[in-house]
Homo-oligomer: 144 residues x 4
């Protein structure tokens, strides 16, 4: 497969793929932007009661934030490769509590190679404060 044959995914493509996945639907991810030139994807997720770490706290459980990071990073690399990808591994660092806010997650591709891709994800609150950061490796191997 030559490189020119790759059709990158649009925001609408990614939204459609998210919306058929039960857990991604639960995360309530909305694609805000998908830019193959900047190699960046931005998604938004609104708080819901099931996401809380403690009842009534409006604080996001770290697992939900990790799930958002995994998914946004996946589709950032996936955008460049033209399909959703298996995650090889990822790391998440929690910087500040995420309380009473929607999350805005911006993922930037650091490398989209033939066998693996790497993406960084910055997670912000609605006011632009950095809450958490992620870094993931995804399998880009064409197994067909």
């Amino acid at each position: 497969m030559s490189k020119t044959e790759v059709t990158t995914l649009t925001a609408a493509d990614i939204q459609k793929m998210l919306d058929v996945s039960p857990f991604n639907l639960f995360l309530g991810l909305t694609v805000m932007d998908a830019d193959p030139v900047k190699q960046e994807v931005t998604m938004r997720s609104a708080m819901r009661p099931e996401f809380e770490r403690r009842p009534g706290s409006k604080q996001w459980h770290g697992g939900v934030i990790a799930s958002v990071i995994d998914t946004v990073g996946d589709f950032a690399v996936g955008m460049m490769v033209g399909r959703g990808l298996p995650t090889v591994n990822f790391r998440v660092d929690y910087l500040r509590p995420a309380v009473d806010t929607a999350l805005v997650a911006v993922s930037r591709v650091r490398r989209a190679g033939k066998s693996v891709g790497v993406a960084d994800v910055d997670v912000f609150d609605e006011k632009g404060s950095l809450l958490a950061i992620g870094r993931g490796t995804y399998s880009t191997l064409d197994t067909k």
Copy 2:
């Protein structure tokens, strides 16, 4: 605080703490074992449709597996320290697809220091195959 003052958590303590957290309730975690001598905590989580990566696939979304890892590792270190802890960061590696199975997650404390603790988490299917592994750092600092 002297070291002898620490009261480790029991399986019942941990279960009680899990069951007041909306997202941990959603994960459906059951504490199977909490052993402060071996410094190991084991939990089980059954599949539910909202966890699926793709509809009807019975395959766990990686984000749910990451969430289980974060939580089980947290309570392994937390067991030794006597309370739930903020996650500093964690890494998850996916080894095999998790399909049509409950998850059994075993976490072992690698170090429970005065400011941070580190735990490993192995996630198995019901037949004992290793599906994913995690490693997390948790803040053990007593801020009171």
Copy 3:
């Protein structure tokens, strides 16, 4: 300790600290820039035969690159805190082979908290190609 009491490190301070450490001396790190406003530190390391992965290959061994990442990230957070810091953990991702080039490592602080700090490190070749990326957590706890 109030925040205003912190004196950030200058490039000369950092260079002096590097040059009393035997292994950092071996790495041959030169501080190019240390900017506490941008919270960024840049260092350069020239190739030497002992760094090679294979003899005559001029390819950097990954362990040397990891060592550079650990050190540059440490002094980025350390610059903000006013001293060298113990590393809690770090991750390194290798993106492209580093061959026949000096390394330029740019570290940016993502958070400098009271107990831990987090820094990202991008490692470039002399032409500006991204070779490897790191992310580290350092203990900022004042134990005095």
Copy 4:
């Protein structure tokens, strides 16, 4: 390539491969054991003055420990695959200072797949205290 065609590496094979690599020679790694049934490789590295974090401290610089982890993990997966491998990424967690001791690093393969392998590495001092832990992903893809 069928699985039966793979010839695993012996301790002598690994030692020979280490000893042609300038940086691995600098690390002074000795293969103590290479067991393809347990999927474990153990190496030892003695302290030398160039490894010190601070002069006269006899404390290992974290970068050297990270380098040992990278290399031992690499050859653990490599043993199973029959050759040395490119590192995709790795994480190291420092648990206790490594002072006035040789290092004994034990790596266990967690998965040796067709495109990537994952290995854990535990680093001990000579008395058996756990000093640091690593987890690495290595490319097992046969590019020939």
